[in-house]
């Protein structure tokens, strides 16, 4: 039996008093890839935000066990130090802060809180060289300000590059495929697949089946109105592509 990375039980969350998540149950084990699909407004991005610890979302019920920790009690940065990574749907620009400085700071803070020595400049550069090749990120982009002036595809590749640098236990990819052309999609998926191993897990949140041609999920969950209404294997994704979500919703009634 592989170990459980995250176990979400009856998770309810609201924003501005409006309930969005209405009882999510999901267990993800090491070595697994879970895809969460669903129509717009079903709560996909809310789920990723709540797991990452965004303040504007209020958890009203339920619990989340993450590697034996009460995830909901942790600050966003503490979650990151424990290996939770969110690849943003809309990566944020930070003018004047170089990508390298940003990552070096992130690694140093993590090391500090883990009681480890900060990574040396030499090792850091080695790591950058190795990991940037994964997503074919050019030197020019590495040294530019975080996401500033990046194209949509470059931003997403930069997210996966950061993921590679931080070596998370649980990666949540929030609509990483949106705005990507087919080449970028392949590069991103290749990065994710390379980073996948028996010790970590991935949650892929997506609207389309397309990404799942490249990142093969072990489980596919359908989210609707704040609940997981169906779980299946990769063939479910293909079925959704063909038939849409309506037939599932009809079944509910």
């Amino acid at each position: 039996m592989s170990k459980t990375i995250i176990n979400i039980k009856n998770l309810h969350a609201s924003v501005d008093g409006k309930a969005i998540l209405k009882g999510i149950n999901l267990e993800v084990k090491a070595g697994e890839v879970h895809a969460i699909m669903g129509p717009n407004g079903s709560g996909k991005s809310t789920l990723s935000s709540v797991l990452a610890g965004r303040e504007e979302f209020e958890v009203t019920d339920g619990e989340v066990d993450y590697l034996g920790l009460d995830l909901l009690e942790l600050e966003p940065e503490e979650r990151a130090w424990e290996g939770l990574f969110l690849a943003f749907q809309y990566p944020v620009e930070i003018p004047g802060v170089s990508n390298m400085n940003f990552l070096k700071t992130a690694l140093a803070e993590k090391a500090k809180h883990k009681g480890l020595e900060p990574v040396s400049s030499k090792d850091f550069l080695k790591l950058v060289k190795e990991k940037s090749q994964l997503v074919e990120l050019s030197d020019k982009l590495k040294n530019r300000s975080v996401n500033e002036g990046f194209s949509g595809g470059e931003k997403k590749r930069n997210e996966i590059f950061q993921m590679a640098m931080l070596e998370p236990k649980l990666s949540i990819l929030d609509e990483t495929d949106s705005g990507l052309d087919i080449d970028a999609l392949r590069i991103v998926a290749n990065g994710v697949n390379t980073l996948k191993n028996a010790e970590n897990a991935t949650i892929v949140i997506t609207h389309y089946q397309r990404l799942l041609d490249y990142i093969i999920p072990d489980f596919v969950h359908v989210l609707h109105d704040g609940k997981i209404i169906k779980t299946g294997d990769k063939t479910l994704a293909l079925e959704l592509e063909e038939r849409g979500y309506d037939w599932l919703v009809k079944d509910l009634v």
Partner: protein, 483 residues
């Protein structure tokens, strides 16, 4: 050994006690009695053994000042200083002349260390010549010999008056005339000390010249006077930084800095200012009313770079008079206000010569309940054919309670001028902070990263070692400030 209490010691002690209770009009006294009048001016001048012409300069300034009123146009509110309750002169307790930096008071070294720059480090690593101004009197000057070989004069203002009176007399008050403004007039009457720098023709000063200021004695106003003269074809980079220890009462600081860049000369003047800003409730803090101005002759250049994080009230407009053809003026500024600080700062670029160019980059950062104003004037005179100016004024808000204000003035009398102005106001993004946190960067570090990124264009203009200090200052000044 030698610890026996003797009659001599007793005498010594009694003398000191007497001192303590103050015979303050005594010329031997370390401190002038409170207030300002002709006698006080004479006291200061006598104390400093000044020549007659300088006493006359001061007395004239007093007359001019007495006819002026404190200006009220700036976007700041404060209780006006009671000018008769201030002591206008204080010297450090009797100290022998220092030959080496090792002899400097450990307390001073401690303050320096808090800024991340110890003297030892400075000496060793940066080759910076440091001239201290501790409560208005210089107590240490270094690297003088090395500079001397090149004919560079870098000393306290008082020393310059004694050793190089002809230079001081020729240039003092030529850029900031006595009657220029209320604070400049006050300074001209009572200035205590400051720095003087002269770079001879064609000499490129091989090191950054640096002065550190701090206020020590309770209730002592600081009236620094700085004069920098770059003779034809010379170059100098001058650093000014200050720290003030915590205190409760308001302190008046009214400095005057005059820069003179003769033909083909270049002066780079950098400031990191972190006077005590007052406490969280806006109590205390330094009132900083500064007049800084430079004049550029033909093909010369003056560049002001400032990082302002301190003071309860800041009133400061480092300016350039572009008198000579093809001269260049630059102003790069980061001004941070937090809690109840108020800053009204900016620049004036006065284009007189042909083909003159000026650049203004101002980055305001407001936090807490503070108010941060940019006030600038770009003036193109009739004869300033082909003058060019680029101004960029950005404001970053850290909270919903603070204010950012921009007052750009343009007066243009020549139609060939090209003027560009850009301005932005943004609130520090919660999205940016969350993004950093998600990568494991704590809120405090995140804010410092974001703010330093925002201010980078200006920080990049500072000499390396100063830039590091400035970054630290921004970080300290903005601790726990988002909301």
């Amino acid at each position: 050994m030698g610890m026996k209490y003797t009659e001599e010691d007793l005498k010594e002690e009694l003398k000191t006690k007497e001192y303590e209770f103050g015979f303050t009009t005594d010329i031997e006294s370390d401190r002038a009695p409170n207030g300002i009048n002709e006698d006080i001016i004479r006291f200061i001048s006598a104390k400093k053994e000044e020549p007659e012409w300088l006493l006359e300069y001061r007395l004239n300034a007093l007359k001019v000042w007495q006819k002026m009123v404190e200006p009220e146009w700036a976007h700041v509110t404060y209780e006006k200083p009671k000018f008769q309750d201030i002591s206008y002169y204080s010297a450090p307790k009797k100290k022998k002349e220092l030959k080496s930096l090792d002899e400097v008071d450990p307390e001073i070294l401690k303050t320096m260390a808090r800024l991340g720059i110890s003297l030892e480090e400075q000496k060793k690593l940066t080759g910076v010549a440091v001239d201290f101004v501790i409560d208005s009197v210089s107590v240490a000057t270094s690297f003088k010999e090395k500079l001397g070989e090149l004919g560079i004069i870098f000393c306290s203002f008082s020393e310059a008056v004694k050793e190089h009176p002809e230079l001081v007399q020729k240039y003092l008050g030529t850029v900031v005339p006595t009657g220029d403004n209320f604070y400049a007039a006050l300074n001209s009457a009572v200035f205590s000390d400051g720095s003087f720098c002269y770079i001879p023709k064609g000499v490129r000063c091989p090191m950054e010249l640096s002065t550190y200021f701090r206020i020590n004695d309770s209730g002592t106003g600081q009236f620094e006077r700085t004069l920098v003269i770059a003779d034809e074809g010379s170059y100098v980079s001058y650093l000014e930084g200050c720290t003030a220890p915590q205190r409760d009462e308001n302190q008046l600081h009214a400095a005057v800095v005059e820069l003179i860049a003769l033909d083909n000369a270049e002066i780079k003047y950098s400031t990191v200012q972190n006077w005590y800003p007052g406490d969280k409730n806006g109590k205390g803090g330094v009132f900083n009313f500064v007049t800084k101005r430079g004049i550029c002759y033909k093909n010369s250049k003056i560049s002001w770079t400032q990082v302002e994080t301190g003071s309860a009230i800041t009133w400061k407009y480092p300016s350039c008079i572009l008198k000579g053809d093809n001269s260049i003026g630059e102003f790069y500024s980061v001004a941070v206000t937090n809690n109840y600080q108020m800053a009204d700062t900016g620049t004036k670029m006065i284009h007189i010569g042909k083909n003159t160019k000026s650049t203004i980059i101002s980055k305001g950062i407001s936090a807490g309940n503070s108010h941060n104003s940019y006030r600038g004037l770009v003036k193109i005179g009739k004869g300033a054919t082909n003058a060019r100016n680029f101004s960029q004024c950005d404001s970053l808000l850290m909270t919903d309670r603070c204010g950012a204000h921009t007052y750009p003035y343009i007066e243009c009398e020549n139609s060939t001028a090209q003027l560009e102005h850009e301005a932005t106001t943004s609130k520090i993004g919660e999205d940016q902070v969350f993004y950093c946190k998600q990568r494991g960067i704590s809120e405090e570090r995140a804010i410092s990263l974001i703010v330093n990124g925002y201010a980078k264009e200006v920080l990049n203009k500072l000499p390396m070692e100063f830039a590091v200090e400035a970054q630290k200052l921004l970080e300290i000044s903005l601790e726990n400030s988002v909301g």
